[in-house]
Amino acid sequence: MRIKRYRGLFIQVIVSTLFISIVALFINNLSVNLLRAGLGLNFSWLFRSAGFALAEHPLPYSPSSSYAWALFMGWLNSLKVISSSLLIATLIGFLVGFASTGTNTLLRILSKLYVTLIRQTPLLLQLMFWYFVGFLSIQGEIFSPIKGMLSLSNQGIILSGINLSPEFSSLLVGLGIFTAAYISEVVRGGINSVPIGQWEAFRSLGLSENDGLYKIIMPQALPAILPGLTSQYLNLAKNSTLAIAVGYADIYAIGDTVITQTGRAIEGFLLLLLSFLLLNLIISNLMELLNKYILTYKQR
């Protein structure tokens, strides 16, 4: 008994010592590097003018705007592409998830194929594909069902007068379709976690497949779907940094330029880390709210 207790204490002491030493090593390394470069942590450069142009900026911006404003434009650009591809990914993901658990054999095979294809190829490759093959190589308008409302061309997507650049469009489509494949698997798993008896019960009452899915299966599947959905949303936000590959001015791409120009790598990366932390905290807190809402609705 006594030996066991001492052994537990001993292991705890070793683990804490290791942890403290590693953290101390990092802090030491950081301050030594800063000293060697003759720098303290200093953020005053943020207010100097950036001097570079941005292709896309949701708010007024010119090369004479500050670095801080340029970074903020990047953050807004990131927010824009993340939130819109999140919507697309959710929509496609749930539809494909329903199809893969549904009774239509053709739809089941197609959704399986889609998920396999998307999950077995790298996201970077898919983004480049959508950019170079998907948008830049389009000759004229290939898809224009309603004149001026929706069209696809090498100028990107035009949706009811809003012109989306080819960079934004390819990121939107690429991230959306990539994440949707993973979301569809989360949805499928959630639906499969509902006992088969629930399907048989609503079917035996003469309910249609759609009514049953909406009224019986999904309310029970959602609690199982939400945690996986949240982590897919967080992944999408983090994957959006691949924007740099197609030349979209997201926070990471702009941060990279800023760091190169100013040489302020440590402050730059700290800001980037913080901005993503902020973004993902927003996402996970919203999802937590949704989760609470669903649980209280369930126990109503």
Partner: protein
């Protein structure tokens, strides 16, 4: 008398060539109570589940409440049959996120387009018939197994079915809860409900069944009145089965 269920040479084969249903020909007439017995794996559950399209079959003919169903499993006919045939499961299969009242009114409102008030009034009268009217606002997990199964019966009755199917309705219950569920089924029989009941409850079968159908290895071995089946079964395999369950 008109027949509610009629099958002719119904065959269902599982992947390994095993026959779950082996040329089943049978009939259930209006107001009849048919008890289906047989050892586990004999195909009795499969048979009762083909009666509302939860199982498909490979060949043969099936007619339920006057609607034909073929091996192609015509979706429209299946839906039509399900609207007119109720089913009660071994595991109750109540909807855990809906109240008892919502469990019962869902199908009348969604399928038969009844208005809510009308559907709830009918549901309350069914609950009182089942002796559990005080539980209407509770959720399934707050009820005992016996009460849950009585809710499941009320739910099946809500569409005013012409035929009720029971798939081992008391097998998942604690022994002291079996009686209350059998009493509920018995009172339905007395009111002239046409029923098929898969069960091992010999006492219940003797008392309520008009006919006992005994199955083994996917085949109908014999169909007799309960008097004949339980005292003087025609077939050797029936007698062996009755011996095994202690009758």
């Amino acid at each position: 008398m008109t027949s509610v269920i009629r099958t002719r040479k119904l065959v269902k084969t599982f992947s390994k060539g095993l026959r779950a249903l082996d040329e089943i020909s049978m009939e259930v007439k209006k107001k009849e109570v048919l008890v289906v017995m047989g050892p586990s794996g004999s195909g009795k559950s499969t048979l009762i589940r083909t009666f509302n399209g939860l199982e498909t079959f490979d060949s043969g003919e099936l007619e339920i409440v006057g609607i034909p169903l073929h091996s192609d499993h015509n979706e429209r006919n299946v839906r039509e049959i399900r609207k007119r045939v109720g089913m009660v499961f071994q595991q109750f299969n109540l909807f855990p996120h809906l109240s008892i009242l919502e469990n019962i009114t869902l199908a009348p409102i969604k399928v038969q387009k009844q208005n809510r008030i009308e559907a709830e009034e009918h549901a309350m009268s069914l609950l009182s018939q089942m002796g559990i009217i005080t539980q209407a606002r509770k959720y399934p997990s707050q009820l005992s197994g016996g009460e849950q199964q009585r809710v499941a019966i009320a739910r099946a009755l809500a569409l005013k079915p012409e035929l009720l199917l029971f798939d081992e309705p008391t097998s998942a219950l604690d022994p002291e809860r079996v009686g209350e569920v059998l009493d509920a089924i018995r009172s339905l029989a007395e009111k002239g409900m046409t029923m098929v009941v898969v069960t091992h409850e010999v006492g219940f079968a003797k008392e309520v069944a008009d006919k006992v159908l005994f199955m083994d290895s996917g085949k109908v071995i014999e169909t007799s009145t309960p008097e004949v089946f339980f005292t003087n079964a025609k077939h050797e395999r029936s007698r062996k089965f009755l011996n095994q369950i202690g009758e």
